[in-house]
């Protein structure tokens, strides 16, 4: 489509076609008005964009103001408590580490496995398109629905109970679409001529994947996995559904222990009417945000570290 045709095309159906061709002929006051409009719009667009920045600032200020004083060594070392002064985040902190620790290998294998299958092995047929469509729709399913699935499938049907394993499995399914999409993108960015070079030397498909495709795409894959995990760390609803309890006075010792995680502990505090608990919630949020921020920083570090010139 040529540019002129495109413009005509885009004007079709508009009540008053803008008389673009008359621009030069109009008197300067009209042009001045249009320039003024443009400047106003510029300001409005900029302000709108700044809303995001302001909100982030307000949010951080809110959390820091409410919670900073409550981030103490005791806060890390104490379990949940009826008394705000004695309440801490220890069980939730370790619970989060446990859940994420089990989620990492599961997502890694399933996510990358799926991505490799779709990019390297699958033929472009109906079945493959079906899997792809399925994955993109799964990405849009609300997390609470994954919670319902986890509750029914893992907690009840599989008899895992309200345990770390059930939580990790639910989280894995939840973030799998994100990991798959990121991994596919990374894998498809590997130039085909590297694959051909490998095949031409008599390498098998799997040797080519393992020795050429995966090393090349690993930074991109890792970035995607980390971002997905940081989503998992902040998820509350699915774990609430599978019954992660918030009043736990121990750290999980093994994978079939009951557990709580930081967002649930925070939710529990937020739901308490007393103001002190709001401070605890804010303190918990600070820890949570610190974890997320360091994970994101690590992802950015990976991206830059491996963003070499030859890619």
């Amino acid at each position: 489509m040529s540019a002129e045709k495109a413009i005509v095309h885009h004007q079709r159906g508009k009540p008053t076609p803008p008389d673009l061709s008359l621009v030069e002929k109009r008197e300067s006051s009209h042009f001045g008005f249009r320039r003024w409009k443009n400047r106003c719009a510029h300001a409005i667009f900029l302000l709108s964009t700044m809303v995001g920045v302001f909100v982030l600032g307000a949010l951080l200020w809110d959390v820091v103001e409410e919670g900073w004083a409550w981030v103490t060594p005791d806060f890390f070392n104490n379990f949940a408590s009826r008394l705000p002064e004695q309440a801490g985040i220890k069980a939730a902190f370790w619970g989060t580490l446990w859940v994420i620790g089990l989620t990492i290998p599961l997502t890694f294998i399933l996510g990358i496995g799926t991505a490799i299958y779709l990019e390297e092995y699958a033929r472009k047929n109906r079945f493959t398109r079906f899997i792809q469509l399925n994955i993109s729709n799964l990405a849009g399913v609300p997390s609470i629905v994954f919670g319902i699935l986890g509750l029914t499938l893992f907690v009840r049907l599989a008899g895992l109970g309200k345990t770390v394993v059930a939580g990790s499995l639910t989280m894995t399914l939840l973030i799998l679409p994100i990991v798959i999409v990121a991994a596919r993108e990374a894998i498809s960015s590997v130039p085909n001529n590297l694959r051909f070079a490998s095949f031409a030397m008599g390498a098998t498909q799997w040797q080519t994947i393992r020795r050429v495709v995966l090393p090349y795409s690993m930074p991109g894959i890792l970035t995607g996995v980390i971002l997905a995990l940081s989503r998992a760390i902040g998820e509350t609803a699915p774990l609430l559904m599978i019954g992660a309890v918030s009043f736990i006075a121990f750290t999980p010792g093994y994978a079939l222990d009951a557990f709580t995680v930081m967002p649930i502990q925070i939710y529990n505090w937020v739901s308490q009417p007393q103001a002190e608990f709001q401070h605890l919630a804010a303190a918990g949020i600070l820890i949570l945000l610190a974890m997320l921020l360091s994970m994101n920083a690590f992802a950015v570090f990976l991206r830059n570290r491996f963003a070499r010139k030859d890619r």
Partner: protein
């Protein structure tokens, strides 16, 4: 010479080795990985369907769809299962979120795609990414401890739990999504089209609104639909800030209940598995799933069907 050719006979013949077996197993294993996501979908649909059907053997589907009273967690004598109040609550919050997110998201996208210089983009885009990565529990806290008190200085009569505060924050949550997807759509509009308009003396605003936005319209609308689908499924913000009062209302200062916050309320209470109240989790879950699925499919349809060809 003859010996030579005899010696090499079968040189390329396939041999059954461990490596061969391994090589043929791998695609099967990877296919199994890929099938996990298909099974997940089947699992979601299956569990929802099974429990929902058994729910509707006890509760009339017609009453569910048309009823205006939702008291699923009351004792059995007073139970009423009309889902409309939950849908109304969900749509109220989503509507408020749309009022916040669509103008701001679109304006941000226009700014980033048409006006911003690379330096500004380099600062603003990561901030939007961070905003997109903030856990919803944190947004819920923000709604309850920042937005609600702020609103209550203007509307002193408003309760602590209300739809507007939750709606605003849900809107804030989906701004980055709408902004980045719309910006992608606008960036895909070829420069030549813009240049043609500039060459005719158009201002940036005219180029943006009369050329770029119309050209990218399908992608932009798809981003709205996806954003609103996300708003419908959002759970923690509404659970924390919007209250737990299922009611048919259009008053944003009222306390309401959404589908998602009902599910949380029912699942975290102690209702025994198999009770009608418990079954209601699945019926509402199914309703929610259908809503979001239809919107996601709609978004995909729009962006594919009306894809501009440059």
């Amino acid at each position: 010479m003859k010996n030579h050719s005899l010696a090499t006979l079968g040189r390329f013949r396939r041999k059954r080795t461990l490596g061969r077996v391994w090589e043929s197993m791998i695609p099967k294993f990877l296919l199994a990985c890929a099938l996990v996501s298909v099974l997940t979908t089947l699992g979601i649909v299956g569990t929802l369907l099974k429990e929902t059907i058994s729910f509707f053997t006890k509760v009339s589907l017609f009453d569910y769809i048309t009823g205006t009273k939702w008291t699923a967690l009351f004792n059995e004598a007073q139970q009423s299962f009309g889902v409309l109040p939950l849908i109304a609550g969900t749509l109220l919050v989503t509507g408020i979120a749309a009022l916040v997110a669509i103008p701001i998201g679109l304006a941000s996208a226009i700014y980033l795609s048409e006006y911003a210089n690379p330096k500004v983009r380099k600062v603003v885009k990561p901030i939007l990414e961070v905003l997109a990565g903030v856990p919803t529990i944190v947004y819920g806290f923000f709604a309850l401890t920042f937005i609600t008190p702020l609103l209550r200085t203007i509307l002193p009569d408003m309760g602590v739990f209300n739809a507007v505060s939750a709606g605003i924050v849900v809107g804030i949550m989906i701004i980055p999504l709408i902004a980045s997807l719309s910006e992608d759509a606008m960036s895909a509009v070829p420069r030549s089209i813009r240049e043609a308009a500039y060459a005719m003396g158009c201002t940036k605003l005219e180029v943006a609104l009369k050329v770029v936005v119309p050209a990218a319209l399908s992608g932009i609308i798809a981003s709205f639909v996806l954003g609103l689908s996300r708003a419908i499924g959002e759970t923690m913000i509404v659970t924390i800030a919007a209250g737990a009062t299922p009611r048919m209302t259009l008053d944003p200062t009222d306390s309401i209940q959404t589908m998602t916050s009902f599910i949380v309320q029912a699942a975290t209470g102690d209702h025994s598995f198999g009770s009608i109240a418990y079954g209601a989790i699945y019926a509402v879950g199914m309703t929610l799933f259908i809503f979001t699925l239809l919107m996601n499919l709609l978004a995909q349809y729009i962006s594919r069907r009306f894809k501009e060809e440059y």
